[in-house]
């Protein structure tokens, strides 16, 4: 929430409901996600990122907007396309790149990989690679908050394709019936994987047009405008904290890259990517800052400091050791080991 304190002095043009400090944070966050993921892609081309990776290039406003509206204690539940959501909660770029590069300095020291980024100290309660699995899990975390009277909100991100799996519908119904403090965020990037989402649903909007089935408001927003995302998140969080139940928010967006690193995205019609690049969230927001009177110098300072973090992280990861093999057998069970017999 913005307060009078973080609003800029009168005359700067930034004295609206979001405020200058939050706007600068939203810009920094989006740029950081963009630069870190662009670097991940470059490192993949150099064969330094192994396994798979699913980038959110073009979708940064959603991760940044929601994360900036969250407070400490709020919980994020992400998908395999979770780098952006993890970084947006404040996890260092080095930790994420280290995991993608399968180094000992990675977030999970190479035991999870790109699709399972988890940092509980930052409220990132896991990235889930089985479509839909984390919607019920977010419900459970929200049930704990309801049971204990905690005020945190569980925020669950997923793609448009997830709206066709059973767990989505089970979780929406469950959350609505129990009035749980959970916010479901559908990132509709128009493609379930390679197939257009419109080819596999009988309605125009995969999430928004299903909200009424669970007694929820139809919410469809521009997911490439961080201000819109941030305001929508605040409203949903306030509703959740007030005990009024869940929200389902569909954010329209577009991924600039393929589904995963193996996908050149040749199924997209000609001109579609170029059209969406005219509506790039980072560019939109840089223009927004200028429109509100932020100087080119301030923007250049943010750009430089973000690039430095990504550059430093890259070098640290290149220099980092591979994971120690002695952790292969740790943490299968809570005693730290893997023994299944005596």
């Amino acid at each position: 929430m913005s307060t009078a304190k973080d609003r800029s002095p009168a005359g700067s043009g930034l004295n609206d409901d979001i405020g200058e400090q939050k706007r600068l944070a939203l810009y920094r966050s989006q740029l950081r996600l963009r630069e870190a993921e662009q670097r991940a892609f470059d490192l993949f081309l150099q064969n330094l990122v192994k396994g798979t990776s699913h980038l959110s290039l073009g979708q940064e406003a959603i991760a940044a907007g929601f994360a900036e509206a969250m407070v400490k204690g709020d919980l994020s539940f992400c998908t395999y396309r979770g780098h952006a959501h993890t970084l947006a909660r404040g996890v260092p770029v080095e930790k994420v790149l280290g995991e993608l590069m399968q180094r000992d300095n990675g977030l999970m020291r190479g035991k999870g990989g790109s699709m399972h980024l988890t940092s509980e100290e930052h409220g990132v309660m896991g990235s889930y690679a089985i479509i839909g699995a984390h919607l019920p899990i977010a419900c459970g975390a929200a049930w704990r908050a309801q049971y204990r009277g905690d005020k945190d909100v569980s925020v669950c991100f997923f793609g448009d394709g997830t709206t066709n799996i059973g767990a989505f519908h089970e979780a929406l119904n469950f959350a609505a019936v129990w009035k749980l403090p959970v916010v479901f965020v559908c990132e509709n990037n128009l493609y379930m994987e390679y197939t257009p989402i419109k080819d596999v649903i009988p309605i125009p909007q995969p999430a928004a047009d299903r909200a009424s089935a669970y007694g929820l408001e139809r919410i469809l927003i521009d997911g490439n405008d961080a201000d819109v995302v941030y305001r929508t998140a605040q409203k949903a969080f306030a509703r959740a904290r007030a005990g009024e139940g869940p929200s389902l928010i569909e954010c329209l967006t577009y991924r600039h890259s393929g589904h995963s690193r193996a996908d050149p995205a040749k199924y997209r019609p000609e001109g579609e990517l170029e059209k969406w690049k005219q509506h790039d969230p980072v560019n939109i927001y840089r223009d927004r800052l200028k429109q509100f009177g932020v100087s080119d110098e301030t923007i250049a300072e943010i750009d430089a400091s973000v690039r430095k973090e990504v550059d430093d992280a890259t070098e640290a990861c290149k220099a980092a050791a591979p994971p120690s093999l002695d952790i292969i057998f740790t943490d299968v069970y809570a005693d730290g080991g893997w023994a299944w017999r005596n």
Binding site: E120, M125, P136, C139, G140, F174, D331, N342
Partner: protein, 326 residues
């Protein structure tokens, strides 16, 4: 000390833990106001209230997912899956989510929960409501798997499961709900990963689980009285962790091994037990280990057919006599 049913032991075990720890919560289909499909949770809703004992929609994925999210963030949920066959509907949580989150997160994520479910045949419900599916869970690294055979073990192992920091799948046998046993007053807490020798013997070891335990005991009694064969009966109780030392110790004494399994033949838990004994105690054996199982077929519904395929005391007696050449 009092004689109570296996069914009432379930209620008592859950109530004992809910009384002890306010973080223990319980959810499932028809478990609260209706008291459970098998009436094994009657009175918990009245005792602990609707915020701790909650009826859910018919949504097995939501039930297990919600249990996991609650467990990750500080509660100790007990979730019921009405029939163990329905584990197939929510197997993602059993196979991919509960057991792997701690490992994949390099130890960050915890998952202290119990899934209790009604397992096994004998009710003439047919192939989708009668299976013994403990082996579906035993094969997954990161889970613990328990299947008690008596009221006192239901309470003690339930307490151990709830207090355990790992995900535990707790198989209750639906044909044992009406069985009775002596249970002492006061708190009962057992230990996971411990088998029990229920009957000492010197001629052969019979290793059994759940409903097969009373059948093995009956067979051992008949073998002794009618044929002079003195069998030791081991109740495995816990498939993971597996108490191999008790089993190996018994085989070292009797030199023969028979497993009695309700699950269909392929990849049953007995195969793992036989493999361990063959590997580590081959020279203790005086003859081949023998698995007595349900044949590798879906279970038929009709009583005379179901009775034919489950291991019975008579089949255990005949198999052991034939194998021992008596």
């Amino acid at each position: 000390m009092a004689e109570i049913s296996y069914r009432d032991a379930v209620t008592r075990g859950i109530a004992q833990e809910m009384t002890r720890d306010p973080d223990v919560v319980f959810l499932g289909e028809d478990v609260a106001k209706p008291g459970g499909c098998f009436k094994a949770t009657v009175g918990l809703y009245e005792q602990f209230g609707g915020i701790r004992v909650r009826d859910t929609p018919i949504s097995e994925q939501a039930i297990l997912g919600a249990a996991m999210g609650a467990a990750m963030t500080g509660l100790k949920p007990i979730a019921e899956i009405m029939f163990s066959d329905f584990i197939a509907v929510c197997f993602d949580y059993i196979a991919n989510e509960f057991p792997k989150s701690r490992y994949m997160s390099n130890g960050q994520t915890k998952c202290p929960l119990v899934v209790r479910t009604a397992n096994g045949a004998g009710s003439r419900f047919g192939a989708q409501h009668s299976q013994s599916v403990e082996n579906w869970c035993m094969m997954i690294p990161g889970l613990k798997v328990v299947a008690p055979s008596s009221p006192i073990d239901v309470i003690g192992l339930m307490a151990a499961a709830v207090r355990d920091p790992d995900p535990v799948i707790f198989f209750e046998h639906k044909s044992l709900y009406n069985s009775k046993g002596e249970v002492p007053d006061g708190e009962i807490v057992d230990t996971l990963g411990t088998a029990k020798i229920l009957r000492p013997g010197k001629d052969a070891t019979i290793v059994a689980l759940a409903l097969m335990v009373p059948r093995a005991l009956e067979a051992a009694e008949r073998l002794k009285i009618d044929h002079g064969i003195d069998c030791e009966v081991v109740d495995v109780r816990s498939l993971v962790p597996l108490d191999t030392q008790t089993i190996l110790g018994s085989v070292a004494k009797t030199h023969r091994l028979f497993t009695v399994e309700e699950n269909p033949r392929l990849c049953g838990w007995g195969a793992e037990v036989v493999s361990i004994v063959a590997d580590e105690a081959f020279y203790d054996l005086d003859g081949p280990p023998v698995r007595i199982t349900t044949p590798h077929i879906p279970l038929p519904a009709a009583d005379i057919m179901e009775d034919m395929v489950l291991p019975t005391p008579q089949r255990i007696v005949d198999t052991i006599r034939r194998s021992l050449g008596s």
